[in-house]
């Protein structure tokens, strides 16, 4: 498993993909950060984190689209599948590598936070607790998005299809809550609110650690990784 993790990490940095991800992430997050704090004359970063969720819809697929689709296209999956590595270990190693890239970049983007201390002096500095809550939520949400991306990547051998498919699913996840306000049917609403990752995010922006939401995000991650494993186990029989 460690071997696959190392290989994945190396692939991110020996191909343009890792750098493109870093550049796009930092550009988008930098712009949104400046826009939602300096521009709006506030030191509250919860707005920034909420906007970033939409950014992730585009950014996360960059990270996950290759993971299985490329292996399948180049037939290297045959090496992985005939090696003494279990399918869960393989899926988990790839998930972990993508999450390492994601988490690392998120932590790097925390540097943006520093100027706020100088900027917001008169209103007693930015609310660190609240920002910290948002950060944790961000990582949980990213985990969940990456699992979706990994799952979609197991379904196709085209990286383009994988990224577009991932974006579509993530978009549905995020905007489900918006449709919620337009629909009267109780059943549909409860289904929509169940899949809505966006609405669960709100408590974190108040600086609260919402255990229910954390469990929800971890469960979604688990479900999609499990589905990815199932896809691979199933493929052997097809």
């Amino acid at each position: 498993m460690l071997a696959i993790y190392k290989k994945e990490m190396r692939t991110y940095f020996t191909t343009p993909l890792g750098y493109v991800f870093l550049a796009v992430f930092l550009a988008v997050s930098g712009f949104l950060f400046a826009f939602s704090t300096f521009q709006s004359q506030t030191s509250d970063v919860s707005g920034y984190f909420q906007l970033m969720i939409f950014g992730y819809i585009v950014i996360v697929p960059l990270l996950t689209m290759r993971s299985f689709a490329e292996e399948r296209r180049t037939r290297t999956e045959q090496l992985l599948m005939t090696s003494p590595v279990t399918i869960p270990a393989m899926v988990f190693a790839k998930f972990l590598a993508a999450f390492t890239m994601f988490g690392g970049t998120v932590l790097l983007s925390c540097l943006y936070y520093l100027p706020l201390f100088g900027y917001a002096e008169e209103n007693a500095g930015p609310n660190v607790g609240r920002a910290f809550g948002c950060l944790i939520a961000m990582l949980l949400l990213g985990m969940c998005f990456i699992a979706v991306g990994i799952f979609v990547s197991t379904l196709t051998e085209s990286t383009v299809t994988a990224s577009i498919g991932t974006m579509t699913i993530l978009l549905v996840f995020v905007v489900a809550a918006i449709f919620n306000n337009l629909i009267d049917s109780y059943v549909v609403r409860s289904v929509l609110s169940w899949i809505s990752v966006y609405s669960r995010y709100v408590n974190f922006t108040y600086g609260m650690f919402d255990i229910a939401a954390a469990v929800y995000y971890l469960s979604i991650t688990g479900v999609f990784l499990f589905l990815a494993i199932r896809v691979y186990e199933r493929r052997r029989y097809a």
Binding site: K6, T14, Q78, L79, P84, V85, T86, R236
Partner: protein, 312 residues
Amino acid sequence: MIEINHLVKNYGSKFAVDDVSFKVGEGEIVGFLGPNGAGKSTTMNILTGYLSSTSGEAKVGGIDILENPDEAKKLIGFLPEQPPLYVDMTVNEYLNFVYEIKSCRLNREKHLEEIRKVTKIDDVKNRLIRNLSKGYRQRVGIAQALVGNPPVIVFDEPTVGLDPKQIIEIRNLIRSLGKDHTVILSTHILSEVQSVCDRIVIINNGKIIADERTENITEAVDSTRRYSVKIAGPQREVLAALNALSGVTSVEVTGERELDSYVYLIETARGADIRKPLFYAMAEKNWPILGLESVGMNLEEVFVRITDRAGN
């Protein structure tokens, strides 16, 4: 070492592998021969744990590949039809990755160097696989199968894409591997299995149609000799003269290639060499021989011959 029992793999109503059974003993080199689409690759993919079978079992070293895949896979080195290469890695990085993923416990540097030497890729070890030619890629694929020194080695068409000199080198390599490994290789080239393998398993349409020692197959194939000869002369009379030669079992006209000259396909009985009598007979009648070559058998004809013989 390898045991395949009543293996079946079907996709709906199409049977890729249909009730295939055979055994391979330790240290044996077995050639898996068949035309394209016969089920060679499918059988190998099942044996190595890449695909699962619809029914039947495949065992390596007594371990069932479906029941205990991790243990069984440790015993196998596999070169698939298309070598599974990460083109963004150098040859060395790639072999190191394979070494790690197979969780080998050997002297890494020494082991990998040895493999690079026998497959003759030591001179490209620091180059990106992306930039290597087809022949080198194929050899990196072979090197990959040897990492960890597995007791069973499975090669799916190992000499495809190599030039004639490399083919000979790879065949020699496979033969030397056979001394302390069990090797299965698939091919659709008859002469390849004849030169390398101890035993030949012939498969067609998912079914095994022959499983024999190489000598027996060679004997069956060589029991008649065939020549294609081009003679300038009147067709009917030439035909009669050819049939009159001793040792000729059948003559067939395959076409007119030039004005007044025809190509004849002559089959002769075993042990008869008709080349000299043929020359003198034609010279006597003043019909010049424009070309004479012996014709090998293609795979389909071998099938027919072997199945015919099995029928008798």
